[in-house]
Symmetry: C3
Subunit: 145 residues, 3 copies
């Protein structure tokens, strides 16, 4: 197994922001030379998420409103520490903080409408994401089907 790791950095203008990172992940997979395997895309913070869904702007607004409804701003126990981002922790748990994208024949093996998003819930500061590609390069795998 070969592995290849890059880190992506974000500093969003808004507190909550949804960033399409599909092309960045494609670029990293291409740099890795890995043609068969998978790529792990995982937020390194507990107030941000990673998900796969549609790039349609109305839907992104729906997702944001839905997250606000199910994990709203409120008075959380966590805020006794001086923090104010309890909602962002719960949004992270709701949406999830990582996805695995399969790689087949050198490309992300995604469905037609599947796009990879970094979801920031406590932005306006530097945040980090790990992208780890794992698999086999051309001619090195025992078998590819």
């Amino acid at each position: 197994m070969v592995s290849y790791t890059e880190y992506l950095y974000f500093n969003t203008k808004q507190k909550r922001e949804y960033v399409n990172i599909t092309h960045e992940i494609e670029r990293i997979v291409s740099s890795s030379g890995i043609i068969e395997g998978m790529v792990l895309v995982s937020a390194m913070h507990i107030t941000a998420g990673v998900y796969v869904n549609d790039a349609e702007s109305g839907l992104i607004k729906d997702i944001d409103e839905w997250l606000q409804k199910l994990a709203p701003y409120a008075e959380y126990n966590h805020h006794k520490t001086g923090e104010t981002n309890g909602d962002a922790h719960l949004k992270n748990l709701l949406i999830g903080h990582q996805v695995i994208i399969p790689i087949t024949a050198g490309s992300l093996d995604l469905g037609q409408w599947q796009q990879i998003y970094y979801a920031e819930f406590d932005g306006q500061r530097r945040k980090r994401l790990i992208v780890k590609v794992m698999g086999e390069k051309e001619g090195e795998s025992d078998e590819e089907t």
Copy 2:
């Protein structure tokens, strides 16, 4: 690392349907010849999910009612595009669209009650799932523990 990929297709009779795919995944892992590693089971659509839980029919009804409550049919911004399936996108995000099942000694290493489900939220049309087995065949691994 060896990898082996198959695609499963669904065309459910109902709009929302929960399909136990455990035996299909077992069959694919067996076909792969991989005895140590994992299998990624991932929906290729943004209106369907994959999860692991119980095969009990009452619980499946509970899951469906719970998803309807937390991600209901409603007027979504997404519907301005002509779509009517905003709820299905949110259900996909709530339940998740993929699982990784460990493979040990040639079998799915699942707990006694763990079953793998394909959850359709916008069915009555052809949908696709990727199953990618990754690991080592007998005698090819550096070490198996």
Copy 3:
């Protein structure tokens, strides 16, 4: 690819309990000798979860209250079988039952505040978790970046 598997066992005093397993996972990765790859941490029950978030006690209380709100104790169809843990199944689906932690240079490649938790939703009995480390040992990988 090398793989290494251990099982962790839990028997919590409370019905619902949140156990920080980060050091246990670090120990298992160290035992595996794998320095580049990933570790799958996956509950083998359908009434327990695994997630990554903060070790702050106030936040853990917030997470518990939030799970109780979104997946409450109630009369579920599942209870017609004699079971009483319908809520625990839904909490499992909400929080997720597994995470993948990347391994870089022999260590868990986590952000500063990321801690790995086993979330028990139907405890006071023996439960099991699988930890499978997959990747390459020093000098055995084709390439490490």
